[in-house]
Symmetry: C3
């Protein structure tokens, strides 16, 4: 019955004999397919635009990388230990990768995650890598596929596509290569031309790894901590009292009352600044902040601490504490990065067995106009205060974020984040905000990555997308190529330095 | 005063003498204009993309059609009666068409709909057809225009555009043609190369037409029912008690208490499965489901049944019953298709006079992340359970649906639906979901049509759009043409079979 | 470390020596750069599309301008006084311009706005102009940049880009030129080929300037008032009672009770119609309207008037009064233009010091489906009633506005408004609504401008974007170029006349 032809083979494509539940054989080509990322990837195909885009991309391709927000740990560079194998490097720790494999029925334990409800060990790296390679086609069209191709080819020198047939040879080849000196973290840091790397750290962290790097004469890089106090601000969870005890221990300040908690937080911010921190980072359900007076705050604190408060009171206290962070930023000048709108740990059984950050945080509708008004009324025009706003909800790009950043000197547009840090989503972001806010209210790109080797791939993607976007504007005579060349340079150099005060 | 020129005529365009309320004469060209849908329609105009898109489109153009959700009735094929005339076939039953004519001031009765508040007969088919042809230009740029051009030209062999001048000859020509054997429903079913067609049926339907087809040796097609229990689940409306009585009669199970209702629904699902059903279909105001215990459910049922319940209680019971559908699907394996977010019958006077499905169901904001959490907590990773999610609100494509389908093995992305089943909206859908969920979490295309002759036109549109979208990715070197060829084949063959278990 | 090259100079771009807080030197090129807007700006770069777009654009480029909604005052044309200088003409009154400069740290007083909290005079025009020119690069990519380039070049004959180096010569050159007769308002009105211009006026306005123009034998233009009763309808603010007193004085009708207020509003609408008004214009937080009976309305009115009402009651009364406007339109046939969804005066300190309309009105989420249902149930199919809907929230284009306009004969799609009246946003609007509502439910373009000289620039932008959008559809064979030529003509001539009954 099937009269269809595979576009490129010319041979009859026989789908009748494949069961509906079989892995789509079509998309998983057998044998060896070369891995050759195209030099013009992500650039427009229309010839006049492509020529412009190439020139713009070439002008920033080799700029040093500025990474003001991410999840690489200072310890990685302080210890400079070799990576062990490709699965532990590229698969198991990357919830972008594990979540999509899980969606296709692969148990997380088969990807190397430990199941706390199961005593047996998770799969071994070689088996994890095989599973990943067998499902490589499932990533077609995703942001992860682009990053992984670039990591494998540009960073790790792989020249064949992962597949069932190439899994073992790739595993062996990469395991050997990763042990070489030039693939150690510090060597990669240099070869990536990283100018500044910000880590994300708990207020109780003594930052010893940051200090060790700073004091190491053999190390010339720049790794700064970021103050991420979510644990201490989220008064709705069971972990809050523990967090306050840890904070007291770290600061030497009693956190048994509201004023003590505030002083302890201020103390740790100072500790972070002393180690080079220029920013704080906050995850919250939404952007609302409260500004209660001292008496109300103390009463709320006591109620929550004693466990007699309602869920609403606990939420209000969390909003009050986030408001205090804004107030502190307006005094100490630390840039306030705000990530909101994610429903964390959507699937309780997966949380129970595999822990948080395992791929089931799902975005929610965002609202900033009303939520941020009380804070911006207080600090929006304060020259010491600066905030960078991130969202998982595209609808606020043109409706709320660009208008806010187009009036308040303190508000910077954060790069498209998380599910939106992908080429087409970045393009939609530029399309949505530029006409209202221009280019100079942007905080530039952040990679937000846990995967050290994905840093250059992610920045390269962002530079290609900006080159493509600007080339379209140049080709349609909205701005000149000279202006575009200077804009793209600023987007990947001056804007992130300025927005994060690096 | 007008110094404008019509682009192509070169003659002065005289608008001074046309009253502001006149039909835009400009857009309704007089005389005979040929109807010649272009073979490359909907493919990108940029030459490198067009060549790729053509090859991709050609590779799936003739694939058999899989239609897992629509509103064609089994009786049409069981009886195989000839269609009578073009107005009754293409205009009167298509609320996409009648609604837009209504928006331009054409009374629905003039389009053949019976006005229950008016004893006089609605317009005759020939007059309906004239009205439609006179307003043909109003459909320029709409999805309906594309489908109608394809139906008229490719299916019905029309070679001239509808217009005031051609209305009568087209009516006569088509009325004669529709009586020919090759234009009977079964002959068209074969010529459309339909591989599987799912109808949408009430739980009380005895499915006799499906049985008749199955038992007819002269019939080789595949027509399966779909279990659509909205009437029995919506406890907020006056029709609910009647629906329960009908359900009791059909199942032979007393629906006077909650347990009886549940058993009766399970009984009918089994009846549908026995006749080949693989899926259930649900329309609801939103995606919330409740999971009360038996005692609470019985109490709620009694209150609503006795008319003593509040509107909130009735809504909660409806959510509870939808939750039972998810539970049943997790046991019997019927795929749960969920369509939410439409405000039905927005204009009460039109409902009163012309009934439902007359073009004034208007979309609402959608929310899935919170709404589906309780259900997905229970069944999201259950291998028996599968759901396909549809929305009328584009904003959830990237924000909620792709992230959910990118983690939960049970969640499939439904095709852009209803107002969004149009070329550009389909393109935006691919753009929004692919980077997060890839291609293999898609349920493929559904035509959702009441118009039998529009089935090939709608699938052809979807194949063209997918070819165009993939061609863009290939031309920008995001994936190879080989991979794209296999992806588009799977999108129109394996994915719908897999998602709907056909 | 920087291995980047500026795309077009080939010289090393030295960013190491520029402090992170310096004005992005890159984007502010020193010296003299010619100002030469390209004739093909905003048209697609793909050659086949560009040729079509050029022809379509040429066919409407010189059509007379119809401006059914804007903020130019009748007095400007009645007095016909010369403009004084470029800063007072282009910078100080344009909150699109001042807001973005403010976002980059420029105090509003430095842009010529008077600070009521500061006795010293605001900056002088020459200094304002210098500040503007020094920050010219900040507008790259914004809608304002495009309009300003067109105003400077096409209207004012400027041939060099504003910059620190050219500020003074441009100020002098323009100050002289603006004094010439051909740059007086009436002369510009003629050279702009304006066919009709609607102003926006308070109900208490005696419309003497409109009358003066109508009675002036030397004046052949058409300037009509628009009835904008926001002050009298917003019962939530302190200004309401004053507004009612003013209304009583203007109408000679006691507004001390609800019925009097209604009769006074009807009286003023009649006054406006007698002076050529065809439409009313309304700004509201959202689109909800109430339809209480006379007794409830009177009770509510008394409570609010006496200051004993709750905030909710005041809001309900405002919704009731907006509902009365819809009712009046259904009787007197004035078109009801509705702009909703802006959080006015987001920054209280700026409001206190510089007043309203100073760049900090921020959009909110919009909802129309539920909000408009009670009104459309009453008047949606009433042939006397017509409404044009505007939004700041793009998400309702495809979800709510196109479906509503695609059924209700009274509902017209307003052009993308305010932050959305920019090329790419207009393009997204066409993309979102056309497939559902076609082209003939559009109200055409409105410029909504306070800047008289920006009127031709804004209409030209809209014509270019429509030409680009239609060229894409023609190149992809969705419609013929003949049809496209007639559509674009109707969009810029017949549709606004029809939608606003001009």
């Amino acid at each position: 019955m099937d009269r269809g032809m595979a576009a490129t083979s010319g041979t009859r494509y026989d789908h009748e004999h494949a069961g509906p539940l079989a892995t789509p054989r079509g998309a998983a080509p057998a044998g060896r397919v070369p891995l050759t990322p195209h030099p013009d990837r992500l650039l427009p195909s229309e010839p006049s635009q492509r020529c412009i885009a190439r020139r713009l991309y070439d002008s920033v391709r080799d700029l040093p990388l500025i990474s003001p927000h991410g999840h690489v740990e200072a310890r990685l560079l302080a210890d400079d230990d070799a990576f062990t194998d490709p699965a532990s490097l590229l698969v198991t720790p990357d919830h972008y990768v594990t979540r999509l494999l899980h969606a296709h029925g692969v148990p997380l334990a088969d990807l190397g995650l430990r199941d706390s409800a199961d005593d047996t060990d998770p799969a071994q790296p070689r088996d994890v890598w095989r599973t990943f390679c067998e499902h490589w086609h499932l990533f077609l069209g995703t942001a992860s596929r682009g990053w992984l191709e670039a990591e494998l080819h540009d960073v790790l020198g792989v020249t064949v596509q992962p597949s069932a047939d190439t899994a073992d040879e790739l595993f062996d080849e990469l395991t050997v290569r990763l042990r070489k000196p030039e693939f150690r973290p510090r060597a990669l840091y240099d070869s990536f031309a990283i100018a500044a790397l910000a880590t994300t750290d708990d207020p109780t962290d003594d930052l010893s790894y940051h200090r060790a790097l700073a004091e190491d004469p053999s190390w010339s890089g720049r790794v700064v901590p970021t103050f991420r106090p979510d644990r201490c601000l989220d008064a709705t969870g069971s972990g809050w009292t523990t967090a306050l005890d840890d904070l007291a221990a770290a600061s030497g300040i009693d956190t048994g009352d509201y004023d003590g908690l505030i002083r302890a937080l201020e103390n740790r911010r100072e500790h972070f600044r002393a180690h080079g921190a220029t920013a704080t980072d906050h995850s919250a359900p939404d952007a609302r902040m409260a500004f209660l007076d001292a008496v109300q705050a103390q009463r709320l604190f006591d109620a929550v601490r004693s466990g007699t408060a309602s869920a609403d009171d606990a939420r209000l206290l969390s909003q009050q504490l986030l408001g205090e962070m804004a107030r502190m930023s307006s005094e100490d000048g630390m840039v306030m990065a705000l990530h909101t709108g994610s429903r964390r740990n959507h699937h309780p059984d997966t949380l129970r067995r595999f822990g948080p950050d395992t791929g089931h945080d799902i975005p929610l509708q965002a609202e900033f106009t009303r939520a941020l008004q009380p804070m911006l009324e207080r600090f929006g025009t304060n020259p010491r205060f600066q905030t960078v706003l991130f969202t998982l909800d595209e609808t606020v790009f043109s409706r709320e974020l660009a208008p806010l950043a187009g009036f308040y000197p303190s508000v910077y547009l954060g790069a498209p984040w998380w599910f939106l840090d992908a080429p087409r989503a970045m393009y939609r972001f530029r399309d949505a905000v530029t006409e209202t806010a221009g280019f100079y209210r942007n905080a530039g790109f952040i990679d937000d990555t846990r995967g050290f080797c994905s840093i250059p791939a992610r920045h390269d993607t962002a530079r290609r997308v900006d080159a493509a976007h600007l080339a379209g504007l140049v080709a349609e005579h909205v701005l000149s190529e000279d202006d575009a060349a200077l804009v793209i340079h600023d987007l990947h150099d001056r804007q992130p330095r300025k927005a994060f005060r690096l």
